[in-house]
C-alpha cells in the first residue's frame, strides 16, 4: 500500500470518526427554547409595526413627509403598534430598544414641525 493510499484511508477514517461523534454522545438533547412559529410571527409583526412607526418619524424629521401627511399616517400606525404590543405582551422583546436608542421616536412624536 502506498503512502498516498494510507493517507487517503486515514482521511476517510478521521471523517467517519468526526461524523460519528454526536451519535456517540448518546441520548437526544432537550428540545431547544425557540418559541413556537405563531409566537415568532406575532413578534415579527410587533417589531415591524414599531419599526414602521420609527421610519415614519424619521421621514417626517428629514422633511420627506409634510405635517399633514404625518398626522394622517401616524395615528393608524400607533394603533397598530399598540395593538401588536398588547397582543405580544408575553413575547420576547425585539425591536423595542433601550431608551437611549429611541431618539427619533421620542423627538418626532412630541414635535410639531411646520412645513417649509
Amino acid at each position: 500500500m502506498s503512502v498516498e493510499l494510507l493517507l487517503g484511508a486515514l482521511l476517510a477514517a478521521a471523517a467517519v470518526a468526526f461524523v460519528a461523534v454526536p451519535l456517540l454522545r448518546g441520548g437526544e438533547p432537550p428540545p431547544s427554547e425557540e418559541p413556537a412559529q405563531e409566537t415568532l410571527v406575532a413578534a415579527e409583526e410587533r417589531d415591524r409595526a414599531l419599526a414602521e412607526l420609527k421610519e415614519l418619524e424619521f421621514d417626517h424629521r428629514t422633511g420627506k413627509i409634510t405635517d399633514e401627511d404625518y398626522r394622517a399616517l401616524v395615528q393608524p400606525l400607533r394603533r397598530r403598534a399598540a395593538s401588536s404590543l398588547a397582543n405580544g405582551a408575553t413575547l420576547p422583546r425585539g425591536t423595542a430598544e433601550h431608551p437611549s436608542e429611541q431618539h427619533f421616536s421620542e423627538g418626532s412624536a412630541s414635535s410639531s414641525r411646520s412645513d417649509r
Partner: protein, 663 residues
C-alpha cells in the same frame, strides 16, 4: 500524490451523500444528534476538499507533468504566479475551486448557524449536501483533475490571456460570488421544507446574498479591467456570453437585496423573494455551465468538456424541485399587507425589481437564443452588442433615475406637496448641470447628455439624503456634524452603505458614458519618424524593439506622445509570442491621466521593420469605472458590517434566553 487527491474527492462525495441522507432523515424525524452528525459531515467535506485542492496546487507548483491537468495548463517556463492561476485555468481545476469554496461557505454557514439560527439548519444541511454531492460527483466521475499519464518533458502552457495578474483574483472572486449564492438558496429551501412561516431565513439569506453579491460585483469589475488591459481591443465589456453569465445572477441578487427590504419592513413580496433567491442560484449554475461546457464560443470560455448534460440536468432538477416546493408552500408565503400607493418607497423598489428582472431576462434570452437556433435550425445566430445596448438604455436609464427617486420618497405613501419639497433641490441641480453640459458641448450625444443629467440627479439626491439625515440626527443628539454623520451611518449601515453603493453605480455610469459616448478612435499606418494627431495628442513612431521575456518573445513599437507641446513620454504597445503555447497576444499600452480620468490607449495591430499600424483610442473618464469598484466595495462593507443592536434584537426575537446569552 494523485491517489490522495482522488481519495479526498471520494471521501467528500461520501460525506455529501451522508449529509443528504442523514440530514433529511434527522430533519424529518427531529433527531438532534443525527442532525449534528450531518452538520459535521459538511465540516469534514470542507477538509476533504481542502486536501484535494492542496494536492492539485502542489502538483501545479512542482510542475508534475504526470498529471494530465498540470501538463495541459502549465509549462516549465510559466512563471510561478501563473502556475497558481492555472488551478482555475481549466475545467477540472475550476470545478475543484467551486467545490472548495462551496464546502468552505457551507462549513461557515453551519458554524454560524449553530450560534444564531440553529433551528433553520435542520433542512438547510441536506440542501447544501445535495449541491456538494453534485460537484463531488462531477469531479470523481466526469472531470477529475487527478487523471494521470506518462510524465511529459514539458507542458502545453497556459492560455496567454490568462497570464495576467488580474487572473489571480478575478476568477476566484467570481466563484466566491457564484458559489456564495448557494447558501441563500439552501436556507430558503430549508425554511420552506421545514414549513417555517417566520422570517428568520430572510435575515440569514439577506446577509449571505450581500456577501455573494459583493464578490460577484467586484469580480466583474476586475474582469472588466482584465479585458481592458489584457485582451487588447480597447473595451472592457463586450456582452460576451460569459460576461453575461456573471451579470445575470448579480442582477437577480440586486433585485433580491432591494425587495427583501419590502418583506422585512412591510411583510410583502414573500413569493417573489423566494423566486429571486432560486433564480439567482439557478443563474449562477447556468453561468458555470456556460463557462465550462464549451457550448458557446467566447474569449472567456477557456475549456470545452463533457459536463454540459450533467449541468443541464442539475439545473433542471434545481428549478423544478424549487418551484414544486414553493407551490406546495404557497399558503405560508401569502402576504397580509398590500401596496398602499404607487408613489411610495416600496413602490419604487418594486419598479426597480421589475426593471432589474426584465433586464436580466432579456440578457438571458440573448444568451440562449443562439443556442436554441443552432439546436433547432442547425445555424448559429449571433446576438450582438446592439441588442444588449438597446435594453441597457431601455432599462438602465430608468433604473439610474430610480436610484435618485427612491431615497426622496417616504415609505407607505407620499403626497404631491411632500414630493415637490424633496425633489426641488435634486431636480434643480440636475437641470443646471444638464444645461452646463450642453454649453460645454456634451450635446453631441443625446443618450450621454441624458445619462449625465440623471447621474447629477442621483448624486444630488444621495448627497441630500446624507445631509438631511445628519441634520436630523444633530438636532436630536447635539454634537458636531461629523459626530452626527457617523452616528447616522452607524445606526443604519444597510441604508447608508446602500447609498454609497448607489454612488458607485453613478461613478460607473459616468465612466461608461464618457468612454463610450464621447470617445475618439483613429487607425493609421506610421513609418518611422511620422506623426499622427488624435484629440489633443500627437503620436510619433520611433521604431521597434524585441526582447526575450520569461516565457515569450516581446515585440514593442516605440511611440512618443505629446500634448500641447509637452512631452508625455514613450508608450510601447506590442505583441508577445509565447513559446510553449505557440500563441501571440496583443499587449496594449495605456496612459492614464489622473486629473481628468482619461486614458490614451494604443494598440499596435502590425509592427513591421520600419512601420507600425496603430489603433489609437482616447477614452474620457474611463478611470472612474475602476474607482467605482473601490467605492462599491466600501459601501458594501459598510452595509455588511455587523450591527450589534440588530444582532441583539434578532437573538431576542428568535433565540429566546439561550440565544441571548450567546449573542
Amino acid at each position: 500524490m494523485p491517489e490522495l487527491g482522488r481519495a479526498a474527492l471520494i471521501v467528500c462525495l461520501g460525506l455529501a451523500v451522508y449529509a443528504v441522507a442523514a440530514g433529511s432523515y434527522a430533519a424529518w424525524k427531529r433527531r438532534q444528534r443525527l442532525a449534528e452528525s450531518a452538520e459535521n459531515a459538511i465540516l469534514a467535506a470542507f477538509v476533504a476538499a481542502l486536501v484535494a485542492s492542496a494536492v492539485l496546487m502542489i502538483a501545479l507548483v512542482d510542475k508534475d507533468f504526470s498529471l494530465v491537468y498540470v501538463y495541459e495548463h502549465t509549462s516549465l517556463e510559466l512563471p510561478r504566479a501563473y502556475t497558481i492561476s492555472a488551478f482555475w485555468g481549466g475545467q477540472e481545476g475550476s470545478l475543484l475551486l467551486w467545490l472548495l469554496i462551496l464546502t468552505g461557505f457551507s462549513a461557515l454557514a453551519v458554524i454560524l448557524g449553530r450560534r444564531s439560527s440553529h433551528s433553520l439548519l435542520a433542512w438547510t444541511v441536506p440542501v447544501l449536501g445535495g449541491v456538494i454531492l453534485f460537484f463531488s460527483l462531477l469531479l470523481v466521475a466526469v472531470a477529475s483533475p487527478f487523471a494521470t499519464q506518462t510524465a511529459a518533458a514539458d507542458g502545453l502552457g497556459l492560455n496567454p490571456s490568462l497570464q495576467n495578474p488580474y487572473m489571480l483574483a478575478h476568477p476566484p472572486m467570481l466563484y466566491l460570488g457564484f458559489v456564495g449564492l448557494t447558501i441563500p438558496f439552501a436556507f430558503a429551501m430549508g425554511a420552506l421544507l421545514a414549513r417555517r412561516s417566520d422570517e428568520l431565513w430572510i435575515v440569514v439569506t439577506r446577509r449571505w446574498t450581500l456577501v455573494a453579491w459583493t464578490f460577484l460585483g467586484f469580480g466583474q469589475l476586475l474582469g472588466a479591467h482584465w479585458a481592458y488591459v489584457e485582451v487588447g481591443w480597447g473595451g472592457y465589456f463586450a456582452w460576451d456570453p460569459v460576461e453575461n453569465a456573471a451579470l445575470m445572477p448579480w442582477l437577480a441578487a440586486t433585485a433580491f437585496l432591494h425587495s427583501v427590504m419590502i418583506q422585512e419592513k412591510r411583510g410583502m413580496l414573500k413569493i417573489w423573494n423566494v423566486l429571486l433567491v432560486v433564480g439567482a442560484f439557478a443563474l449562477a449554475l447556468f453561468g458555470t455551465f456556460l463557462t465550462r461546457s464549451g457550448i458557446l464560443s467566447s474569449i472567456h470560455s477557456f475549456t470545452e468538456g463533457s459536463i454540459g448534460p450533467w449541468f443541464l440536468t442539475f439545473i433542471g432538477l434545481v428549478v423544478a424541485g424549487s418551484l414544486a416546493l414553493i407551490l406546495s408552500r404557497l399558503p405560508l408565503l401569502r402576504s397580509k399587507t398590500r401596496l398602499e400607493s404607487p408613489i411610495s418607497r416600496e413602490a419604487t423598489f418594486l419598479y426597480n425589481n421589475l426593471l432589474l428582472v426584465a433586464f436580466c431576462l432579456t440578457i438571458l434570452w440573448g444568451v440562449i437564443y443562439p443556442i436554441l437556433t443552432e439546436a433547432l435550425r442547425g445555424e448559429p445566430v449571433t446576438v450582438g452588442p446592439p441588442y444588449y445596448n438597446f435594453f441597457l438604455n431601455a432599462f438602465g436609464l430608468p433604473l439610474l433615475l430610480l436610484m435618485g427617486i427612491g431615497p426622496l420618497i417616504a415609505w407607505r405613501r407620499a403626497s404631491l406637496r411632500g414630493l415637490s419639497r424633496t425633489f426641488a433641490w435634486p431636480l434643480g441641480i440636475a437641470l443646471a448641470i444638464g444645461v452646463a453640459l450642453v454649453a460645454l458641448g456634451a450635446g453631441s450625444s443625446v443618450p450621454g447628455l441624458v445619462g449625465y443629467t440623471f447621474c447629477a440627479f442621483v448624486l444630488s439626491s444621495i448627497g441630500l439624503e446624507f445631509a438631511r439625515g445628519t441634520r436630523a440626527r444633530q438636532a436630536l443628539s447635539g454634537g458636531s456634524w461629523f459626530a452626527a454623520f457617523t452616528e447616522l451611518v452607524g445606526r443604519n449601515r444597510r441604508r447608508y452603505g446602500g447609498y454609497i453603493v448607489h454612488a458607485s453605480i453613478v461613478l460607473l455610469a459616468i465612466g461608461v458614458i464618457g468612454s463610450s459616448a464621447y470617445d475618439t478612435t483613429r487607425e493609421q499606418r506610421l513609418r518611422t519618424g511620422e506623426s499622427m494627431r488624435v484629440g489633443d495628442y500627437t503620436l510619433t513612431y520611433r521604431g521597434s524593439t524585441q526582447e526575450r521575456g520569461a516565457n515569450a518573445m516581446e515585440l514593442r513599437a516605440l511611440v512618443d506622445v505629446e500634448r500641447g507641446g509637452e512631452s508625455l513620454g514613450t508608450m510601447q504597445p506590442g505583441k508577445n509570442s509565447y513559446f510553449a503555447e505557440q500563441q501571440v497576444s496583443n499587449e496594449a499600452a495605456i496612459r492614464s491621466d489622473r486629473m481628468s480620468g482619461e486614458d490614451l490607449f494604443l494598440i499596435a495591430e502590425q509592427i513591421g521593420r520600419d512601420q507600425v499600424f496603430l489603433k489609437v483610442l482616447v477614452k474620457p473618464l474611463v478611470n472612474l469605472i475602476w474607482i467605482a469598484g473601490f467605492v462599491f466595495l466600501g459601501g458594501a462593507l459598510i452595509a455588511l458590517w455587523p450591527d450589534a443592536r440588530e444582532q441583539r434584537r434578532l437573538a431576542l426575537r428568535y433565540g429566546g434566553r439561550e440565544a441571548l446569552s450567546r449573542a
